[in-house]
């Protein structure tokens, strides 16, 4: 081992930050009154502004960057703590699992849009492909559910392959329009397809891994019973952690660099030997794979899916998560997904105005913080690595 050069940043700002956010979220999820929610929101915003002003956010950032291994344990631990607090609350646990599933899907979108610059406004459609794959496979085959989740990803990646040709032959707005058209087409296809349940949708079996039925409550003792959604929270936590680890590896390799180079300057990268479509295809396929896996798990958790779950509006939610969080930064995705999914659920009064809220948030972010809430840091291939 070589001696440490310089001091490692302290663990505490990061841990305190995680604890603070966890406590805040627990209170936020518990509170019922609309006034209380509004007060908490204002309080939370004020706390963030103050923390930024007094440099606490900056200290947290260095802590997160420098003590990555510890943070990687602390954040899932905080999620588990949340689960313990709400262990009997079906609604809240469903919400937590939904957040993590959308996080996984947004990570997929990040590879496409954030890394390689391939616009994809069909996120909901690929999520839907994962869902319907799970529905059909659980109903008609005895395939292990672990494989069903993988199959959801594979199907999304394969069908994404059909879109590749038109998407790669066009640029910018035009390829965006193609993906929009695909979302609309996908929903209509589901609605007229009786084999897939038509507009009424399909029932999906619950997840069952090696005899562990996810749709049964977990009886810990005679009196203490965990909501069956705990199972799904754990499954989605595992999925999102895998997605996170994958995204990081990708980002910290030559592939991540290739995707950046292709996104930032096609002409220059062509002059340095880049096969531009190769990296765009890789990003699109890998991204859809992640989105599809998230979809398969989502379907098994919901137990019922219908075409109305996969509209253009839902695709926009995924895109706004990526924009809001900080294009290309997985931690940003985590924060943004939580905001975008949890906020409308708790603020009942804005349910109807959900999209208004998202649109306003995206506009504000693009105006005042174009790199997102948590901008993507420079690439460190091996964090903590010091040149000799």
């Amino acid at each position: 081992m070589q001696p440490k050069t310089g001091e490692r940043p302290s663990l505490w700002p990061g841990l305190l930050g995680i604890a603070g956010v966890a406590v805040y979220l627990i209170v936020f999820l518990m509170i019922e009154s609309q006034v209380g929610v509004a007060v908490l929101l204002v309080g939370g915003a004020a706390a963030v502004v103050l923390a930024a002003r007094f440099g606490a956010l900056e200290r947290m950032r260095t802590s997160f960057a420098g003590r990555e291994g510890s943070m990687d344990i602390a954040v899932p631990a905080a999620v588990l703590a949340l689960v313990l607090v709400f262990h009997q609350d079906h609604f809240t646990l469903l919400l937590v699992a939904t957040v993590m599933i959308f996080m996984t899907a947004s990570l997929g979108l990040t590879v496409q849009f954030g890394f390689a610059g391939v616009l994809n406004f069909a996120g909901a459609a690929f999520l839907g492909i994962g869902c319907y794959t799970a529905a059909v496979l659980t109903k008609n085959t005895g395939l292990s559910h672990l494989l069903v989740i993988l199959a959801g990803g594979v199907m999304a990646a394969l069908i994404g392959g059909l879109l590749l040709y038109p998407v790669l032959r066009t640029r910018g707005h035009y390829s965006a329009v193609i993906t929009i058209a695909f979302t609309l087409l996908f929903k209509t296809f589901l609605e007229v397809n009786d084999a897939l349940g038509g507009p009424q949708g399909l029932r999906v079996d619950g997840l069952n891994l090696f005899g562990w039925a996810f749709n049964d409550n977990i009886a810990l003792t005679e009196t203490v019973e965990l909501s069956f959604y705990t199972n799904y929270v754990l499954a989605s936590l595992v999925l999102v952690c895998l997605g996170f680890a994958f995204l990081r590896r990708l980002d910290r390799s030559w592939i991540g660099l290739n995707m950046d180079a292709v996104r930032l300057d096609e002409t220059a990268s062509a002059c340095f030997g880049y096969n531009i479509s190769r990296w765009q295809i890789t990003a699109f396929t890998v991204g859809n794979f992640l989105i599809g896996m998230a979809g398969a798990l989502y379907a098994m958790m919901l137990g019922f899916i219908a075409p109305t779950n996969f509209t253009f509006g839902d695709s926009l939610i995924l895109v706004s998560i990526v924009l809001l969080g900080g294009i290309g930064n997985p931690w940003g995705i985590a924060v943004a997904t939580t905001i975008v999914i949890v906020l409308p659920e708790k603020l009942q009064m804005i349910q109807e105005y959900r999209f208004l809220l998202y649109a306003a948030m995206v506009i504000l972010i693009l105006l005042f913080r174009p790199r997102g809430l948590l901008p993507r840091p420079l690439r460190a291939y091996f964090p903590g690595w010091q040149p000799k």
Binding site: A268, G273, N275
Partner: protein
């Protein structure tokens, strides 16, 4: 017009009757040029005379309308930019085309593309081997940057965004040189820099050329002082045609060149 027999033996790069037109505009007209190994050739001419178009046609960004380009004894006329780079030609751009949000190291590694292992499996799962490749690449990039500017070599993981123009030019040249090309095309490296900075950069270029064996350079430049100082030979273009070729003194004395630059009454 018959191709002129060049006086240079076995040129690194040779173009024969190279032509390129954009609609009615003739950007290159029957350009025949030969570049000898290890020389620095200055490519000069007024604005719009086809210098950058020449680079773009050689590097395959624009397909040639006629004629041929031979590099290292091989016909590269129809190659895409990727193939031209793999053959051993690297370039810089008139308007800096670095990726601003990326670090200095990342930008230089973009130029190192053909020497890096690109497999998905290698990059994601063989982290030990990847680390070795990363460390080797870092050492090489650092060494190259240090030839230009030692302090800059200690800042390899800073974003390019915050750097002054001269450092950006240096990094752009490092990006082109890291893959050890045989031919380097410099498109107006002094653009946007002060006189002193230009002098400094030219010193750097001469120094790096001395430290690398087997490197030929074609440089597009407007500043005559620069041309006089660093080039072995010059070719002058006007309206897409070569109007003169020779040493700086010969070229500067040529009446056609004076006419192209100063105009005639």
């Amino acid at each position: 017009m018959a191709a002129q027999v060049s006086a240079v033996p076995e040129p690194v790069l040779a173009t024969r009757e190279l032509g390129k037109r954009f609609g009615g505009v003739v950007a290159l007209e029957a350009l025949t040029l030969a570049v000898a190994p290890n020389e620095i050739l200055g490519l000069i001419g007024p604005n719009g005379s086809g210098k950058t178009t020449f680079f773009n046609v050689v590097t395959g960004i624009y397909p040639a309308d006629g004629g041929a380009v031979t590099f290292d004894g091989r016909d590269i006329t129809r190659l895409a930019p990727q193939g031209v780079y793999r053959a051993g030609i690297a370039r810089t751009f008139q308007r800096s085309r670095l990726s601003l949000p990326l670090s200095i190291f990342d930008n230089i590694m973009v130029g190192n593309h053909k020497r890096l292992t690109q497999g998905l499996w290698f990059n994601l799962f063989r982290r030990r081997a990847f680390r070795r490749e990363f460390e080797e690449s870092y050492a090489r990039a650092r060494e190259l940057v240090a030839v230009f500017d030692p302090p800059l070599a200690d800042r390899m993981f800073e974003a390019v965004e915050g750097l002054p123009m001269i450092d950006r030019r240096r990094i752009e040249i490092c990006r082109a040189l890291i893959s050890r090309p045989k031919l380097l095309l410099l498109d107006e490296p002094s653009a946007g820099m002060t006189h002193d900075e230009t002098t400094q950069l030219m010193d750097d270029i001469l120094q790096v050329k001395d430290s690398l064996a087997d490197l030929t350079i074609i440089i597009i430049e407007h500043e005559m002082g620069v041309i006089e100082r660093i080039t072995d030979r010059c070719a002058v273009l006007n309206f897409g045609r070569k109007i003169c070729e020779g040493s700086y003194q010969e070229v500067a004395a040529d009446p056609l060149v004076q006419e192209a630059y100063l105009g005639l009454e």
